[in-house]
């Protein structure tokens, strides 16, 4: 389930970056790259586990969903910290 949630987050973030932040002022490109990196890695992990061990490709249960949501929160935290450090609008510098 976390692969589905992360892929969805990667697609959404890329779309928002393309439409609203193509110059990457708000570091949305970074957030998209974080999501895409995890998506690609988990895709390989899922394919290999499916082929080698016959595991379910998509693990759909409450724990997997909660993990997916937590992963998105971690990525958003990293992005927000980076955004505040770079402070593109100079709001923190003014204070």
């Amino acid at each position: 389930m976390w692969l589905i949630i992360t892929t969805l987050a990667a697609i959404t973030t890329t779309l928002i970056w393309y439409l609203k932040d193509p110059k990457n002022e708000y570091k949305l490109g970074l957030l998209a790259i974080i999501f895409w990196g995890a998506t690609l890695m988990w895709f390989v992990d899922h394919v290999m586990a499916y082929r080698a061990e016959g595991e379910e490709f998509f693990e759909i249960n409450a724990d997997a969903t909660l993990l997916g949501i937590s992963v998105v929160i971690i990525a958003l935290l990293v992005w927000e910290i980076t955004l505040l450090i770079s402070d593109p609008k100079g709001i923190l510098k003014k204070k």
């Binding site: 976390w2 992360t6 970074l30 790259i33 974080i34 999501f35 895409w36 990196g37 995890a38 998506t39 690609l40 890695m41 988990w42 895709f43 390989v44 992990d45 290999m48 993990l67 937590s70 992963v71 971690i74 990525a75 990293v78």
Partner: protein
């Protein structure tokens, strides 16, 4: 078990390479000509983002599943000598697969960017301080 260690290893190497390339580009004044074409340090930064970002989220997933703990030996598979072999096997096969796949996708993305750029934009400017 610890498959994210392989992409972390690649990320360390490519980050060092990116820093060296960035220094050389600054020294020789090499920069991109237009928005579309990327310098080598920018291309490597993109790869580093994929590797570090992906590894971070994978590490979190391993913590979630109790495969990584914040105390020594950090990897729970290390507690039992019988689990060390399968762990190293997983690192090599799945981690290696991740490294190859992410690098391949990055290479394809960079190739597409270059092919889409008009020939005139492919030339980098060399500004040798004069």
């Amino acid at each position: 078990m610890a498959c994210f260690i392989a992409p972390v290893g690649e990320a360390v190497v490519t980050t060092i390479i990116q820093k060296v390339v960035e220094k050389k580009e600054k020294k020789y004044g090499i920069k991109k000509t237009k928005e579309r074409v990327l310098s080598w340090s920018q291309r490597l930064r993109f790869l580093n983002g994929l590797l570090w970002g992906g590894s971070l989220l994978l590490a979190f997933e391993h913590i979630w599943h109790g495969e990584v703990v914040p105390w020594p030996p950090f990897l729970t598979a290390m507690r039992n000598p019988a689990d060390v072999g399968p762990m190293l096997h997983e690192m090599a096969i799945i981690g290696g697969g991740m490294v190859i796949f992410v690098t391949f996708i990055w290479a394809v993305a960079m190739l597409v960017v270059e092919l889409r750029a008009p020939a005139s934009e492919l030339n980098v400017e060399y500004n040798r301080g004069g």
